[in-house]
Amino acid sequence: MPKQKPEVRRHNFNEVATGYNEEQALAEAARCLQCPQPKCVDGCPVEIEIPVFIKLLKEKKYDEGIRKIKEKNSLPAVCGRVCPQEDQCQKNCVMGKAGEPVSIGRLERFLADCERSNGSQAPDKASPTGKKVGVIGAGPAGLTVAADLVKLGHEVVLFEALHLPGGVLVYGIPEFRLPKSIVRGEAEYVKKLGVDMRLSCLVGRTYTIPELLKTGFDAIFIGSGAGLPQFMGVPGENLGGIYSANEFLIRVNLMRSYDFPEYDTPIRIGKHVAVIGGGNVAMDSARSALRLGAEEVCIVYRRSREELPAREEEIANAEEEGILCKFLAAPVRFIGDEKGCVKAMECICMELGPPDESGRRRPCVVKGSEFVMDVDTVIVAIGRTPNPIIQRTTEGLETTKWGTIVTKDESGKTSLEGVYAGGDVVTGEATVISAMGVGKKAARAIHEYLMNKSN
């Protein structure tokens, strides 16, 4: 896959991977063996008929190809970019047994991008059912549920608290991995399907779920995500120059502070940046910090490289761009200057003990191993938990002690009748595609519920 060179891309926010051209896409598609019993489909959380769309691509029937994908997935341009295909469809690809699997994600992206440059067409809709569904959160789960239900003929209102649709796709994942124009395009498509999108509307505050159910909504899907940042609880964490990864990424992505002062929301980046954590969000934060002009960006992770939860491709990208890593270390306190801004971070070394409940080896403190790093910006990327607003304002909605919503089965059924939930608000922070997969199942269950419900 063609990419911008590391020494170039570390200075800009343009997309890193530039995508296949037609010739490359056709060559890659030709590698697909068209297995009679394709294993790749089993690995796809949204059940895309992969060999069928690849065959259409081979035959240069690009319109038909993308329509095939969109039967199952309303956000192909997104998934083609950010899905961990290596752990899903491509992992099962027969070609991978003796070499490289077919690059299914890149082919999906190629078709989606072709369509975007030629303009998309909304498919025919089923006749109206007279049922009305409220979907909360225009992130990957919500957009999927909304698109699937509106196609089945239901009236769908999609509530989004932010001023732009996309959820984590727009506030979390950086431009260089997922251009915002793509997210906008996908959201426009969902609107074109007939979804009534209400931006800047916070369910739990402006309206509550019980109120919506009382006033004409037949079912509700909660896909409000995991938007609350976690902190470490060590001294000095409120010093200036210390951001949660959420704040940092919201400023940079949603508010586009990398274009300050053309865009009004500022971001302050120092020379020496430490990013705490080892997931995709940590990688995204580190690579964004570099692009904002930091001299040195160091990821500080309490386990070793092997346990890094980030996607291998993103770790490789980060390393190529010159991101440093300090493994087996964790901050114990932050030290401020006279203005209350962070100037150093005291860390302690860790060693790996026996595996913990997550199956990864547990990091243990090495006594007396404290050391100090000079830093002027710190980004805390140690995870996010569900936003509590809906849980606090919906009586009878069962939640766990971590604030996630309890669901009864795979369909996302909650403790309240007609109320379903899915995505990060149920599972805790996970991937875009897993949220979409859950969204698909929930949409099916909601459809069934609505069609069986008497008026």
């Binding site: 800047s200 964490e237 409120n238 959420n246 009004d264």
Partner: protein
């Protein structure tokens, strides 16, 4: 209840309360129905603009309006000040934060400073309606920044005025010490600049008067996502947007809050300057 057919929030009246302090009344029935004193809204006027929190300063649920005041200090607020009666705000999110604790405490000292005199009036009004005996203090840097003295007087016959430069009323808030010595208050609520709220809390603490403050640190989303508005309350990290904005003033780490408020000052100045220059 039904969803508003329109998503626009119309400015139904605009006033200039004092020098560079504007007041908007917004027609937004569904939000007005839910709003309570102490809560705030988030506003963004264009995709390139900042999201800003504004404390609700007026609620008329019958008319379906809320009001807020703002000080034209930076680019965002100066631009906001150019909007006219009849204009629409597309992205108005709210009500956010938890409502203030309003009940009959007895004798209340209600202090408002600067532009936050506006929400302080709403507090005073709510306490008055809840049966409290309200004493009001309004303060500002200088005379031309004062407003709502008359409105406050409709709620209370004890309204004190203070300015930093002494151009009207008392000079500074030092006089409150005598007042606190002379009278016993059951509760104090302070709404205003951080330094003023800190000062009030320092004054009430020795007298053991329970004092609450409304904190509006820098926020990006206003609903718990960014954590930029984190404050230390009794040594514990809280988010002003979802845990507040009302907190026990005697437990707030004000110095930390002051430092955090200054985090983006150079950038804010640059933005404002460039905006002025572009005319």
């Amino acid at each position: 209840m039904r969803l508003e057919a329109h998503r626009m929030h119309k400015i139904v009246s605009k006033e200039e309360l004092a020098y560079k302090i504007k007041w908007f009344e917004i027609s937004t029935p569904d939000i007005a129905k839910k709003s309570q004193p102490g809560q705030f809204i988030m506003l963004i006027t264009g995709e390139k603009n900042e999201r800003i929190p504004l404390t609700i300063a007026g609620i008329d649920s019958k008319k379906g309006t809320i009001s807020f005041a703002f000080n034209e200090v930076g680019k965002t607020t100066k631009e906001l000040g150019l909007l006219k009666k009849g204009d629409n705000l597309e992205n108005l999110l709210g009500p956010l934060g938890n409502p203030s604790e309003i009940k009959n405490f007895g004798k209340i000292l209600c202090v408002g400073g600067g532009v936050m005199i506006a929400p302080a009036y709403l507090q005073a009004q709510a306490f008055h309606e809840a049966g409290n005996d309200v004493t009001a203090v309004i303060g500002a840097r200088t005379k031309k920044l004062l407003f709502f003295e008359d409105k406050m007087k409709t709620l209370s016959n004890k309204v004190y005025v203070a300015t930093d430069d002494g151009s009207q009323g008392h000079q500074g808030l030092g006089f409150l010490k005598d007042l606190l010595q002379a009278e016993k208050f059951d509760r104090c609520v302070a709404v205003g600049p951080v330094v003023m709220m800190k000062h009030i809390c320092d004054l009430t603490k020795p007298f053991g008067i329970p004092t609450v403050v409304l904190l509006t640190p820098i926020m990006v989303d206003g609903m718990g996502m960014c954590g930029c508005c984190r404050v230390s309350i009794n040594g514990q990290m809280k988010f002003a947007c979802v845990d507040g904005p009302e907190f026990n003033g005697h437990q707030v780490d004000f110095q930390e809050l002051i430092n955090r408020q200054r985090m983006f000052l150079p950038e804010e100045r640059l933005s404002s300057l460039l905006w002025e220059k572009s005319g």
